[in-house]
């Protein structure tokens, strides 16, 4: 981007400056020997055109909405439309969560995001023995189509998009959502939203897997195929780095592992015979935004560039196939219990990084989440944080305002380079699934998590209120209480569903699902038939458990 003679002048001036620095640090040493990002990338004192002299503007950056999409996937970005404000929420009964969704929509939220409780995430009904103590605790309990109908009661499913964090039994919960819409007269072509449906990162990090990798991949490709034919506005996967990061990875690892997973899904779908340009436009991503402001922004920019390049290599032709569309959530693991109000400030910085990184939708965490699920007040502040960034800060006025920053461009390149180094390591292990089975990702993440904790324990990394600026005070923030009676009401409804449905219809549907699962057909139509007949989540998933078996992970720490 710079002329030779200009670079030469800069080099000369740098040498002069370096002498000044040398003199200065003799009498006034810097605060640290080494300055690093959260991923442990060493950061120089200052960046100049010399650090990015290799960058060709049109090839490496381009204009927004143009390849390689480094500066954003849309031509007008937030000047055209602000990101979707989508707060992840769900607890207790379907009624409790429905009320929370309406509260959020009334306060200006623009998309829904459903959190399910653990039994639901594992495909168990609430009365399963493993569900003990878990009802409604970290999400809403959905045991049958009946619960799903109540969850979205009064919410316009043809106007609002819904993201559902569900993986192992994603196909089943998605079928329940489709059935809910259709029962209300909304055809499936009209509904929009996302199922997380990213099983690879479950084995790697979040650990709510059910089946072994191979049948899990089959189910995922089934949803891709069904989606592109019948539910064209649905994102059938949200390839997630968020949980990889929360489990303790660095930003570099989050970037590398997530994109490696993404490419694995593309290859699996192509092996099925699907055309890349038919399904790739419906792939979406989900990233974390942590405290290292510039590193996060560089990560988002690098992610878009790598994805566009790799999809092109795999044969994608449509520009939309090359778009990396992503949701961002601020880092839950960065929240601390001490002086919890300070978390609002952390979330603000992280949210700003996501916006400057060009996110399509955003969840901002609430200040009280180091204790419990968020209270109404806390979640409103979190939503207001996004609204303040969108409406008051003016950062949305121009696209990718940090593009061209010597540091940000250098770091974007660096993130990309390190991601490719990981791709090589994963390839050498035989691909993502063999690497999972050998515990490669799990070991890498555990190592980073431990290093981070040690740095905090040893005061090498400061966390305000935790290892410095502590205050002795009683924490007095109101926390969300989950209605203990809700579980009884939920269980009564589940019993009623089982009593009142057409039993032989359920049995037939489940039997047909079993046969199909033993064969090679796409399972979505069979799953839909089962849930429409009010087969419960546990029953439907149970059939698949019997056919596919369950996954046991290698124990690594």
């Amino acid at each position: 981007m710079f002329k030779e003679e200009e670079l030469e002048k800069i080099r000369k001036q740098r040498e002069e400056w370096e002498k000044l620095v040398e003199d200065r640090i003799k009498s006034h040493p810097e605060r640290k020997e080494k300055f690093t990002t959260l991923s442990n990338i060493e950061v120089k004192r200052v960046y100049t055109p010399e650090d990015i002299s290799h960058i060709e503007y049109t090839r490496h950056l381009g204009f927004p909405g143009m390849e390689p999409f480094t500066r954003g996937i849309h031509t007008t970005m937030y000047r055209g439309k602000i990101w979707t404000m989508r707060q992840f929420a769900g607890f207790g009964t379907a009624e409790d969560s429905n009320k929370r969704y309406k509260y959020l929509l009334e306060h200006g939220e623009t998309g829904l995001s459903v959190a399910f409780d653990y039994p639901t995430l594992y495909g168990y009904d609430t009365d399963h023995p493993m569900a003990r103590g878990e009802f409604g605790k970290c999400g809403v309990a959905i045991s049958s189509l009946k619960d799903m109908e109540i969850l979205f009661d009064g919410i316009p499913l043809d106007k609002i998009t819904t993201s559902m964090t569900i993986n192992g039994p994603a196909a089943i919960l998605w079928a329940m959502y489709i059935a809910t819409a259709e029962k209300r007269g909304i055809p499936k072509e009209k509904i929009g939203g996302t199922i997380q449906n990213d099983i690879l990162k479950e084995y790697i990090a979040q650990k709510s897997f059910i089946f072994p990798p191979e049948p899990s991949m089959r189910l995922i490709v089934d949803t891709f195929e069904y989606g592109m034919k019948y539910v064209p506005k649905w994102n059938t996967i949200s390839i997630s780095g968020y949980h990889i990061r929360e489990a303790g990875s660095t930003a570099v690892q989050e970037l590398a592992f997530t994109l490696a997973d993404g490419l694995e899904y593309v290859k699996a779908a192509m092996e099925r015979g699907l055309q890349i340009d038919d399904f790739a436009p419906r792939l979406s991503f989900f990233f974390n935004s942590h405290n290292d402001f510039f590193e996060e922004i560089a990560k988002f920019r690098a992610a878009r560039r790598i994805w566009a390049r790799e999809l092109k290599k795999l044969g994608a032709k449509k520009p939309r196939s090359l778009w990396m569309r992503f949701h961002t959530q601020t880092a839950g693991c960065s929240l601390v219990a001490q002086q919890p109000e300070n978390n609002i400030v952390r979330v603000t910085i992280q949210a700003l990084a996501a916006v400057l990184g060009g996110t399509q939708s955003l969840h901002t965490n609430s200040m009280d989440e180091a204790y419990a699920l968020p209270s109404e007040k806390a979640v409103r502040i979190a939503l207001r944080t996004q609204q303040i960034i969108a409406e008051e800060s003016n950062v949305v006025n121009t696209i990718d305002p940090l593009g061209g920053s010597y540091y940000v461009e250098w770091l974007t390149d660096k993130m990309e380079e390190e991601a490719y180094a990981y791709f090589d390591k994963i390839d050498a292990l035989g691909g993502v699934i063999p690497a999972i089975k050998r515990g490669f990702f799990q070991k890498e993440i555990a190592k980073s998590a431990y290093r981070y904790q040690k740095e905090i324990d040893e005061q090498k990394r400061k966390v305000i209120g935790v290892n410095c600026y502590r205050a002795e005070e009683e924490v007095s923030i109101p926390l969300l209480k989950i209605d203990e009676e809700g579980e009884k009401r939920h269980l009564a409804r589940l019993r009623k569903v089982r009593e009142e449905r057409n039993q032989s219809k359920v049995e037939k549907a489940l039997e047909r699902l079993r046969k199909a699962a033993e064969g090679e057909e796409n399972l979505m139509p069979y799953i839909l038939e089962a849930v429409e007949a009010y087969a419960t989540l546990g029953e439907t998933c149970g059939v698949l458990r019997e056919v596919f078996g369950e996954y046991k992970e290698p124990i690594i720490y």
Binding site: M130, A131, C138, E202, Q206, G248, Y371, Y450, V463, Y557
Partner: protein
């Protein structure tokens, strides 16, 4: 001196294992013998492993919010089996107001986010029943 044996356990369906693994490593680095159960353990399985492994300490980890049920289950099973000499501690996303009830139930200490690993090591050394 005999090494302190610790069982780090993930109880219930919760898959958040970052804290458990970090604590397991820190205890090992502090010279303790550490056994990590892996995920998805029932209270019965945890107590059974504790007996098999003859541990001095059980550290439970949970972020899902089911601690009142599942931590208490483990504590009660230990009492039932007369294993009062095992020091039971826990950590995770646990509201202040639940801590007192958990202590009443027999969980000696609860460590929340922001706890340093040194604090946990120190607590175990001070409180392990010899």
């Amino acid at each position: 001196m005999k090494k302190i044996r610790v069982l780090v356990a993930k109880v219930g369906l919760d898959g958040h294992d970052r804290g458990a693994k970090v604590v397991a490593r820190a205890l090992r680095d502090a010279g303790m013998e550490v056994i990590y159960t892996g995920l998805h353990q029932t209270p019965e399985q945890i107590v059974e492993t504790a007996i098999q492994e003859d541990v001095n300490v059980i550290g439970l980890s949970l972020l899902s919010g089911a601690h009142m049920t599942l931590f208490t289950d483990v504590a009660e099973l230990l009492k039932e089996k007369g294993l009062d000499d095992i020091l039971l501690i826990g950590g995770g996303i646990i509201p202040e107001e639940d801590k007192e009830a958990l202590k009443q139930a027999g969980i000696a200490e609860i460590f929340g986010p922001g706890t340093s690993t040194d604090e946990i090591v120190e607590f175990i050394i001070q409180n392990v029943k010899k």
